[in-house]
């Protein structure tokens, strides 16, 4: 098998196994209320960690581009704008910002 096929196969295996393990055992497990609470908190902390600091690297040179995008998205979400519209409007705002920023 060639190099790239091995890369794809290897990545597929090591990515699938961590996903699969809970699927095989979740029905047999009975989590305590404490652990349920821990699991229920994970979406919030995972999102926080996914956003920060990654959002600042949206543009590899201008860190504030991502910050502007995040602030715009948060403002729109605060005003209960639908999710699809938030994504589109944020992209549009950034394209506008880029056309104003003189460099690049």
């Amino acid at each position: 098998m060639d190099y790239i096929s091995l890369v794809i196969l290897g990545c597929a295996v090591v990515t699938f196994i961590p996903r699969l393990i809970p699927a095989l055992f979740i029905d047999k497990l009975n989590f305590s209320p404490k652990f349920e609470k821990f699991l229920n908190l994970i979406p919030y902390t995972a999102l926080a960690a996914l956003i920060c600091p990654g959002v600042l690297t949206v543009d590899s040179q201008l860190w504030y581009i991502g910050l502007i995008g995040a602030v715009v998205a948060a403002g729109l979400a605060w005003k209960k704008v639908p999710m699809g519209a938030i994504v589109i409007l944020t992209v549009v705002v950034l394209i506008t910002v880029y056309s104003i920023v003189p460099m690049i």
Partner: protein, 235 residues
């Protein structure tokens, strides 16, 4: 959508519609991945297969970039393992929440669990596996579709356009998180603590920091957040 009179098909379609905002980010990101993969010597079929089989946004882009720079198979696979280990946590959360499920459906749901499908489903009122599969399979197919477009898109999109689309997944994350932060001061503080923690840890732990921050953050949340805010619904 807890009503049992609603058919599986309707739930799936309801989920698929909910998943549409994810596709706004996945199609352009999939194109970006494909551009790197083609440059690294992947055939069109290999490029699209990886999106189908591996299905890991950042993981695939990192793998293709490493292949481009001639890294060994072992190094690429190990890096992918670390980068994608967070799916273990996300898959556990999703599968712990879903109802109307069985093992084959759980396995399918596990494969299509990524940051976006996990986040959207976990912070919604919905609990049917069919709704989850609607969201997640829509996202998965759009990711593969993006790769397919990218393969046939010979010229790279202008930098300004690709950079602007880079924000789309973050905009989605922020959109999912904001209502919870707005509603609950304790969650807001926890989000802030975790964000700062991850900014600091990412300086030292690299690819491990995301999963460490997520778990440590949730551990802090055990003491910070009152039970009633996070123990609603599922038992």
């Amino acid at each position: 959508m807890g009503d049992i009179t609603i058919s599986r098909k309707d739930k799936f379609i309801y989920g698929a519609k909910k998943g549409i905002p994810i596709t706004f980010g996945y199609v352009p990101m999939g194109i970006g991945y494909a551009a790197i993969a083609i440059k690294a010597g992947f055939t069109p079929l290999q490029t699209i297969s990886m999106s189908f089989l591996v299905y890991a946004g950042a993981g695939q882009i990192i793998a293709a970039s490493m292949a481009l720079s001639g890294a060994t198979v072992i190094a690429i696979v190990l890096t992918n393992f670390v980068v994608n280990l967070r799916y273990f946590v996300m898959s556990t959360c999703v599968l712990n929440k879903v109802e109307e499920s069985n093992t084959p459906l759980n396995i399918l749901a596990a494969h299509v669990t990524v940051d976006e499908s996990f986040a959207m489903f976990s912070l919604s009122e919905d609990s049917s596996i069919w709704i989850y599969l609607g969201i997640a399979i829509t996202a998965w197919l759009s990711w593969c579709f993006g790769a397919a477009i990218g393969v046939f898109l010979l010229d790279m999109l202008p930098v300004i356009v690709t950079n602007s689309f880079n924000i789309s997944l973050y905009a989605l994350f922020v959109a999912i998180l904001t209502p919870a932060v707005k509603e609950n001061k304790q969650i807001a503080i926890l989000v802030l603590i975790t964000a700062v923690l991850n900014i600091v840890l990412s300086q030292f732990l690299g690819n491990w920091s995301l999963i460490v921050s997520t778990l440590v953050g949730a551990g802090i949340g055990m003491y910070l957040v009152d039970d009633e805010y996070v123990l609603s619904g599922d038992a």
